[in-house]
């Protein structure tokens, strides 16, 4: 852990979604997911914090160039999620309920492929100012 530093980039996107398990009948979906099961969807302003941890490079002083991190997030996450319907427009959720938990794991998996293996990655996702999730859990 010595000399490691965490750097963070905060981003946001707006999206519609609904929570529904197609294997269940409507009554069970209503009972479990309540208002979030509305067939016409509802939506959120999602706020995300991407945390990258590693040793600063002796050449640049950077753990990761935050402009580069910002571009990676924009091109691979925001372009895909922002102003979209997560259930209808995002292929990762074709067969996956877009809960905050599943969204944060999906975002992590997308970003993990784009960020140097030597760097630790953690993603925090706020669905509302009061509800947020983090992955991987530590």
């Amino acid at each position: 852990m010595e000399n490691k530093v965490s750097v963070y980039r905060r981003e946001h996107f707006n999206a519609a979604h609904r929570l529904n398990n197609p294997a269940w009948d409507e009554t069970t979906n209503e009972t479990v997911f309540g208002k979030c099961n509305n067939p016409s969807y509802h939506g959120h302003n999602y706020e995300m914090e991407v945390k990258v941890t590693g040793k600063p490079s002796p050449d640049t002083g950077f753990v990761i160039d935050l402009k580069v991190l910002s571009d990676i997030i924009r091109d691979n996450v925001l372009e895909k999620f922002d102003h979209k319907n997560l259930n209808l427009d995002v292929k990762e959720f074709e067969n996956l309920n877009p809960t905050a938990e599943n969204i944060v794991v999906t975002i992590y998996n997308i970003l993990r492929q784009k960020i140097n293996d030597g760097l630790d990655l953690q993603v925090r996702l706020y669905e509302t100012p009061r509800n947020f999730v983090e992955y991987p859990a530590k």
């Binding site: 999206a15 519609a16 016409s40 969807y41 509802h42 939506g43 302003n45 102003h83 319907n85």
Partner: protein
């Protein structure tokens, strides 16, 4: 004269789309907000009333009652809904933040007692975008 504000919140889906225009023009004017499958927001609502303090209670108006009225006439109709599809009082209107603030005023104003006046509906669509409507 005292001003009193109650802050509420609701989550909803919407899109900005004028049906009188073709898809190309909608995308030119509304950009990403015209996505046919909708997108959504966490709306934050500030309801401000004004009036004189009642001597016996020290209150301008019982905030619990203001909260109940807002819940009954506004939040129950908007929260976890699709503004374009599910909301009777927005039918036929563009679901912009401006129109939503005006519509919320119209929903709430008739239910307040004559001793207080509705002063402002302030509505945040995102943490960085909000509108204010003063009933003018």
């Amino acid at each position: 004269m005292v001003y009193l504000t109650r802050i509420e919140h609701f989550n909803a889906a919407h899109k900005l789309y004028n049906r009188a225009w073709d898809k190309e023009k909608n995308e030119a004017v509304f950009g990403k907000c015209a996505n046919e499958n909708w997108h959504g927001h966490n709306y934050e609502l500030y309801v401000t009333i004004k009036g004189e303090v009642v001597e016996e209670t020290g209150f301008l108006f019982d905030v619990k009652e203001l909260s109940s009225l807002t819940k009954q006439f506004v939040l129950d109709k908007l929260d976890h809904k699709n503004l374009n599809v599910d909301v009777e009082f927005l039918k036929g209107q563009m679901c912009s933040t401006e129109n939503l603030a005006k519509a919320i005023w119209k929903q709430l104003q008739p239910h307040l007692p004559q001793t207080v006046q509705l002063h402002c509906i302030k509505l945040y669509e995102t943490p960085r975008i909000y509108v204010e409507y003063f009933g003018e």
